[in-house]
């Protein structure tokens, strides 16, 4: 049979095998493992059969802990089960993993190994998660490449059934998991041959059955537990032999040689590196270069890590070995060394003791850390390790790949070490934006070449952490020989820049090799482009003899109706210029691929792509390059007035130079200053909103809905105008509350993403031309310069006194300074306007616990943070613990605040004679229920601090203590924020606990009805009929009514809001929630890119959601009055059919295009849901309910530690 080749990534390779060999697949999303689960869900939705002809049951659980529990149960019943995870997710599975292994249950967990969050979260790859799982009793098998993932996945599934020991199969996240490689596929016969049917039958026979009952999971006492624990030893002992046996069978069938450990290098090597995972590639390449040069070096790749193949490892080493470096991709602070190192040392020691080692002298062993959080690992880093191994006094423990100038552990990087290019290999780099389709086209190119020719192909893709205007860099390799380079391209033959603007922001040509070809998407033609290039780029082109080609891809895409998606325009140009394939063959292949990919989406889409391909080659031009005088300078990354840290550290991360920063540049505990997005002038909008003061009616709606705080409203005394230039726009402010004031609406041109939501909601239209509003989208190029000057002037106007306007109006809230600005959220994000509003209303006195998810990424992903400060330096203090524990985390903050406030008050009373009764009373009696009283409290506390600083003698200790707590005398709110995945699913238990606790916490659920951050997986907030990942066939059940659960407590303030439907209700709910002294929860409907809507009409969709009864607005205001009616229904009776609403969103509409009958059925049910919800809520509006409360509640925790029966209204406020 001829070998079948396909191009796929590691996640898909693992999923292909797992799906074939499973009956129950319990899943939960986590980066970078989610795609494995998504593939399985997609295939199950298409009723694809597994190896036994049945469709596996794919079930999404509420957390990884849940997924592991369901897996455990399925296994115990005797069904073949699998799951996928990474990082924290794996940690949540530990309790069940111990059980599954302890019960000798065959199973596999495929892990896209990822960093565990410590001082910071990281979604990238290392072995800190899997190394934490060593004690669970699972065998651990590692894959170093996509090919190995496919093969080792099968080995894991086959070996677990033979050995009864469960297998953890892992590969490096965001390298192997997402790298697209051409690999040799396994056929169903291969799978059948390795997975023996009798093993399956035996496993099934051990499953729970009332026909043949047993009891498992007993409790055991000291008398027997220990012995029983040792009883399973022979099974683990047999694992190595079984894995070796399965590997041999696989090698026999495929010709690909696998072993528990594999030695490569000189037979007489003296220096050997031990490595596991994707780092293997770089080490192997280095060994090849060095041995070719006659050096005595070698390497051992370890595949089975646990049970550790001690004898095999020692046996694999050449007897000549003198020194060994063991590389761990994890860090275990305080340990003698990392796990791989320790295992190796012990293995050598034991073999020497036993006299079985072949070497005369015990080799010296060094332990090194590399590649944490996907830090690049290249031959330039490997070479110095061999150098170190040759030294007389090497570093016993080292790190490599960074510059550690604090503990001086790092080895240098040998930048002069060059690995010769394999013959015939082409290396290409592409710089683009997420929105332009560059990565998609490159994945296609990898497949076109890999699957259509004899060449090998590899694609690796790097993304930045912004969700709007995100830059992507693609690294593609093609060649006749197997590609093992698992690191970024360092010397590209071909560089393409798909966005002209990136030339000013990134070192696009730094990695172009001498004589490279450079393809540039340029608005300037071949005759004029040269003079528009930044001088640095010109210089590199001249110095490296680079051949420059240009095409105006946006013009071509526009002509054929493809908008910003320039992928199909740029791709043919790459093929033409790179010469990987003959031009005609390449064009035919691209068209064939287009037909295959887009054919199912319709003929028109295919035709447009064809048109783009044909037109692109006509418009590609070679440029006569300089030498020419330098014409355009690259602007400084950040403004000169930025703080030193921003200039020295943040700016370098922004410029893509983070790898070059030394250890000493960083804070030791992960703390960073806030208010840094303002230095990151991204200028990503094509169009920005421009104010027309003649039409404006001062409503403030534009500022209210702006997801990026990029359109602002300021009201100021008329006298300020004198300080401003004539170009500055203003108009009279219409307000009964404030006379003789002016108003200005101003865009921050470089911070705006151009989403257009502000224009969509603007209600003011021109009397003479109805299409013109009080703000209108206009060309960025044409307006940016003037608007920049206006923005600077705007910033110079002092903020209005916070109590000048009532906060419960939109105008009143929108004159308050946003302390959440310019986040990297998606253009048109539905979440951020809520977050921004909270920051406006309470930002100067709040602390935030933020669940992991979109809001923690746009809120706290380096290099910058949108959480900001006011002129006095006050602003939200923000923190992210985990995904699963956010409510508890926030509650802990509340507990601390309460205890500290109580302590401060007690000290204040105690120090009254020193401080003065009047000031003490003023501070203690201040209710702090208005902006003015809070301002007064700040002044009084300042006065108190001044007094305390002067205290000496006996009271000094108390005074110092009070001084440290004085900030806690200012009323501070705790805001617990996160998405629906957190609040409805993984963190629900904690949310419930926080609500039940009765303490004053404000929970804001940014409800997008899916796990947005990980790509739109269904949560329990996902509505019926919506198609989401993990609900590929449309969700059958309705969304959970989280508000109803919260209302059940009676003392919880609950609001369901949608800004686009009622901004006043949103504003009111925020104020009420914060004012309520007990727990509050606000469930905020947040439009999301995952809804499949035009995000510029985000607010209109929210309006329709309410109008159709899909999302009724209400507030539940706990009342002490016996005849109180706490439930306030704030929206009107639905006037729009649900059908009309759902047809306007792709998440629903897609089901009508895949399963029309099911869609119609679910739509009818959704209408029934809405009708019933309305009927139920209408009745609730009449229900009387009151909360009994204690007369005098203690300030902090009640003496019995329980506050669940009260609403926590005490003197803490």
């Amino acid at each position: 049979m001829t070998q079948r080749w396909e191009c796929l990534d590691g996640n898909e390779a693992a999923a292909r095998i797992a799906y074939q060999l499973s009956e129950v697949i319990s899943i939960y999303p986590i980066t970078p493992a989610s795609p494995m689960a998504e593939h399985c869900d997609d295939w199950a939705a298409q009723s694809r059969p597994n190896m036994w002809g049945i469709t596996p049951d794919v079930v999404e659980m509420q957390s990884e802990a849940g997924a592991a529990g369901a897996l455990h149960g399925a296994l115990q019943k005797g069904a073949l089960g699998v799951t996928f995870t990474a990082s924290q997710g794996l940690l949540l599975m530990f309790p069940n993993m111990f059980k599954i292994a302890g019960e000798l249950t065959p199973s596999v967990i495929h892990v896209s190994a990822r960093t565990i969050a410590t001082h910071a979260l990281s979604i990238f790859g290392d072995h800190s998660d899997v190394m934490s799982a060593r004690s669970t009793g699972w065998a651990m098998l590692s894959s170093a490449s996509v090919q190995e993932v496919l093969d080792m996945a099968l080995v894991a599934h086959a070996a677990t059934l033979r050995s009864r020991v469960p297998f953890l199969h892992f590969f490096d996240g965001f390298r192997t998991s997402h790298e697209v490689d051409k690999i040799a596929m396994l056929e169903p016969e291969d799978v059948r041959a390795l997975v023996r049917e009798q093993d399956v039958l035996d496993f099934r026979a051990r499953g729970m059955s009332s026909e043949d009952p047993v009891v498992r999971g007993t409790a055991q006492n000291p008398d027997v537990f220990f012995q029983a624990r040792e009883a399973a030893n022979p099974y683990m002992d047999a694992v190595k032999g079984i894995v070796a046996e399965v590997m041999a069978e696989l090698s026999e069938r495929t010709g690909r040689q696998y072993d528990l450990v594999t030695y490569t290098g000189a037979p007489d090597a003296e220096k050997v590196i031990l490595v596991m995972g994707s780092g293997t590639g770089a080490v192997k390449e280095t060994v090849k270069v060095l041995t070719d040069a006659g050096e005595k070096v070698g390497m051992v790749q370890v595949r089975l890590f646990q049970p550790f193949p001690s004898e095999e490892l020692v046996a694999a080493l050449p007897e000549t070995v003198k020194s060994i470096a063991v590389l761990d991709r994890t860090k275990e602070p305080g340990a003698v060394g990392e796990p791989f190192y320790l295992q190796t040392v012990a293995a050598l020691d034991e073999s020497l003791d036993a006299g079985s080692a072949q070497f005369e002298r015990r080799p010296r062993v060094l332990g090194g850390r590399y590649g944490l959080s996907s830090k690049e690992f290249t031959p330039q880093m490997v070479k110095p390790i061999f150098d170190e191994l040759g030294k007389d006094a090497p570093k016993k423990h080292f790190s490599v790949g960074i510059f550690d100038d604090v503990t001086n552990l790092s080895l240098p990087i040998d930048r002069d070490f060059v690995r010769p290019r394999p013959e015939g290999q082409v290396q290409a780099m592409f710089f683009g934006l997420g929105s332009d389709g560059t990565v998609g086209a490159n994945k296609a190119s990898v497949k076109i070449i890999g699957e259509g020719t004899d060449l090998y192909s590899q694609g690796h893709f790097v993304y930045d952490s912004k969700k709007s205007g995100a830059v992507t860099v693609s690294h593609l390799r093609f060649g006749p020989a197997l590609i093992e380079s698992t690191y970024e391209i360092q010397a590209a033959d071909f560089v393409a820049c798909h966005q002209f603007g990136l030339l000013n922001k990134m070192p696009v040509l730094d990695r172009a090799k001498q004589g490279a070809t450079f393809l540039l998407n340029s608005p300037y033609g071949p005759d004029e482009v040269w003079e528009h290039l930044p001088s640095e780029v010109q210089q590199q082109i001249v110095d490296k003899g680079i051949e420059l080609w240009v095409i105006d891809a946006f013009a071509v895409a526009g002509e054929v109706g493809m908008g910003n998606r320039i992928n199909t325009v740029m791709q043919p140009c790459f093929f033409k210029l790179s010469g990987v394939l003959p031009e005609e063959e390449a064009i035919a292949a691209i068209k064939k691929f287009v037909e295959k990919t887009y054919g199912k989406r319709g003929e028109k889409v295919v035709q447009r792509n064809y048109a783009a391909i044909d037109l692109s080659l006509e418009r590609l031009h070679k440029v006569e390059t300089g030498p020419a005088p330098a014409s355009v300078e690259i602007a400084a990354i950040v403004a000169d007035e930025a703080p030193e840290f921003v200039k020295n550290v943040t700016a370098r991360i922004m410029a893509g130079e983070g790898d070059l920063l030394p250890v000493s540049a960083f804070p030791v505990d992960g703390s960073f200053a806030t208010a840094t997005t303002k230095w990151e002038k991204r200028a990503i909008a094509q169009e920005i909103p421009i104010w027309d003061e003649a039409i404006c009616i001062d409503c403030g709606k534009c500022a209210m809905v702006c997801p990026h705080a990029a359109i602002r409203m300021k009201v100021y005394p008329e006298a300020e105008l004198g300080q401003l230039s004539g170009d500055f726009k203003s108009k009279d402010f219409r307000s009964r509350d404030l006379e003789n004031h002016k108003i200005t609406i101003q865009v921050a041109p470089d911070d705006c993403t151009g989403c257009g939501v502000c224009v969509d909601v603007c209600p003011a239209k021109s009397k003479t031309e109805v299409k013109r509003k009080a703000i209108n989208m206009e060309s960025f190029m044409a307006t940016a310069e003037a608007e920049r000057a206006r923005w600077d002037e705007f910033l110079s106007i002092p903020e209005l006194d916070r109590s000048a306007l009532p906060r419960d109006t939109i105008k009143g809230s929108q004159v308050l300074e946003p302390l959440f600005e310019f986040s990297g959220a998606c253009s048109g994000c539905g979440e951020t306007p809520y977050v921004k509003l909270v920051s406006q209303l309470f930002g100067d006195r709040m602390i935030v616990a933020n669940a992991t998810g979109c809001s923690s990424i746009y809120g706290g992903n380096l290099p910058t943070t949108p959480w900001a400060t006011n002129a006095a330096g006050q602003g939200p203090a923000w923190n992210n613990s985990l995904f699963e524990d956010n409510a508890e985390f926030g509650l802990g903050m509340r507990l601390a605040l309460d205890v500290q406030t109580a302590n401060a008050k007690a000290l204040l009373r105690k120090l009254a004679p020193t401080v003065g009764e009047e000031l003490v009373s003023a501070i203690l009696d201040n209710e702090q229920d208005s902006e003015a009283s809070i301002e007064q409290q700040r002044k009084d506390v300042d006065q108190l601090r001044a007094i305390l600083e002067g205290v000496s003698g006996e009271s000094k200790a108390d005074a110092d203590s009070l001084l440290s707590l004085s900030g806690d005398l200012i009323r501070t709110g705790v805001w617990i924020m996160g998405g629906d995945g957190w609040a409805y699913d993984i963190g629900f238990g904690g949310v419930d606990a926080a609500l039940a606790c009765g303490r004053d916490v404000n929970i804001l659920v940014l409800d997008t009805q899916v796990y947005s951050n990980t790509g739109g997986q269904a949560s329990k907030a996902t509505p019926r009929g919506a198609v989401a990942k993990f609900a590929a066939a449309g969700k059958s059940s309705g969304r959970k009514d989280l508000g109803a659960i919260a209302r059940a407590y009676g003392n919880v303030y609950v609001a369901q809001i949608a800004l686009g439907a009622s901004d006043t209700q949103t504003n009111k709910a925020m104020l009420e929630a914060e004012a309520w002294p007990g727990p509050s929860i606000i469930i905020a409907y947040s439009t999301c890119i995952a809804h499949g809507i035009d995000m510029s009409t985000s607010m209109t969709h929210q309006k329709d959601a309410v109008k159709s009864g899909f999302w009724p607005l209400y507030r539940y205001v706990p009342s002490e009055a016996a005849d109180g009616q706490p439930f306030k229904l704030d929206s009107k009776k639905p006037t729009m059919p649900i059908k009309e609403f759902v047809e306007s969103e792709t998440r629903f509409a897609i089901l009508a295009r895949t399963q029309p009958e099911r869609a119609a059925e679910l739509a009818a049910l959704s209408q029934a849901d809405a009708d019933e919800r309305w009927r139920y809520y209408s009745q609730l509006a009449d229900v009387q309910r009151s909360i009994p409360s204690l007369e005098h509640e203690p300030a902090a925790a009640p003496a019995d530690g329980s506050a669940s029966s009260s609403h926590g209204k005490g003197e803490s406020k």
């Binding site: 893709f461 319709g602 003929e603 998606c826 990980t1014 198609v1027 590929a1032 890119i1089 499949g1092």
Partner: protein, 342 residues
């Protein structure tokens, strides 16, 4: 005496001249069953618009592409769609369903903006079992450089192309806005149409005064709108001869309206607004009214009635021409409050 209601339309034998014309309900199996039960002679499905198919494809592709491959944790936002049932597929499925359940003819309707689109879908509709095809020439010609001849030639080319592609009976639904309608109608027949549907009602845009926005607004027809198709049916019936089918549509709301339409020469009276307003049962009411009138006036069949008052059959043929306008104006009396009294 039982009146014979049967008629022939596009070569199809219909049990009744009351046909439900294209409207959103004629795609819904349940509604169609009710129309049939109420006595409809045939059903015309709503037009399949080529632009709608294309827009759907493009919008969906754009929507699924939105935000993809830009952010490491979310490389896309929707599950992989393996098969995609577009508007065209859904239409054909509905057609198949209706054919399976109905005893009366099902006429598919098509509006395309390219020759390719017309031909492709005409064939698919024929394959799906349509009894006849109605081509809907729905266009607003706003290009000032195009003459009436350009516009008409293009329409005729489309009709000829479809004629060449399918053997199904073909009706062409016209708008009343052709400058030389009588001439054009003849050419349409020459190009291969078996019948004409008079007329298409264009939904006119409206202004929303609250939003200051132009909005599409559907308004149902009024009985007075029947006059226009009546006039042209009367004029064209003798010109085109008895073999060419004519359907009168717009403003048929009662048995009397249907009788009038048939009387001036229509083979069928089509209705949409009446059933949208009053429900499918309206057809039975209209049929009863029509039957009663025919009985009272001692007609034995619809065939007898058909064309009895066409332009060729009336005493004063000019009634259907311009002179009638003057008479109508003269016959109009101003409401009393309009003219001030001395």
């Amino acid at each position: 005496m039982t009146v014979d209601l049967s008629t022939r339309y596009l070569g199809l034998e219909l049990r009744s001249p009351l046909v439900v014309s294209a409207n959103p309900l004629t795609r819904e199996p349940e509604a169609v069953a009710k129309f049939e039960e109420a006595g409809a002679g045939a059903i015309v499905m709503p037009s399949l618009f080529e632009e709608e198919i294309e827009n759907e494809e493009i919008e969906l592709a754009a929507s699924l592409d939105q935000g993809t491959e830009g952010f490491a944790e979310a490389l896309d936002y929707f599950p992989e769609v393996d098969t995609f049932i577009g508007e065209g597929d859904r239409y054909l499925r509905s057609l198949e369903t209706l054919k399976r359940q109905s005893a009366v003819p099902i006429i598919a309707s098509l509006n395309a903006n390219s020759v390719g689109g017309w031909v492709r879908f005409a064939r698919l509709m024929a394959d799906a079992g349509a009894d006849a095809l109605e081509l809907n020439l729905y266009r607003i010609n706003v290009d000032p450089s195009r003459t009436s001849v350009d516009v008409e030639d293009e329409d005729l080319e489309l009709i000829a192309a479809v004629r060449a592609a399918v053997t199904l009976p073909l009706a062409v639904k016209l708008s009343p806005y052709y400058s030389a309608l009588a001439h054009f109608a003849g050419q349409v027949v020459e190009a291969g149409a078996n019948g004409l549907v008079l007329f298409n009602r264009f939904y006119q845009p409206d202004i929303d005064l609250d939003e200051l926005a132009v909005v599409p607004r559907v308004s149902l027809s009024h009985p007075s709108e029947l006059r226009l198709p009546m006039r042209w049916t009367a004029i064209l019936r003798p010109q085109l001869g008895p073999e060419v089918s004519i359907a009168a549509t717009s403003g048929v709301h009662s048995g009397g309206d249907a009788v009038k339409a048939l009387m001036v020469g229509a083979d069928v009276a089509m209705m949409a607004s009446a059933v949208l307003r009053d429900g499918p049962g309206k057809i039975a009411d209209i049929e009863a009214e029509m039957r009663l009138w025919l009985e009272e006036n001692e007609y034995s069949s619809v065939m007898q009635l058909r064309g009895s008052a066409s332009q060729g059959s009336v005493e004063d043929p000019a009634t259907f021409e311009r002179a009638q306008y003057i008479r109508t104006l003269h016959s109009w009396a101003a409401p009393p409050n309009l003219i001030p009294t001395a």
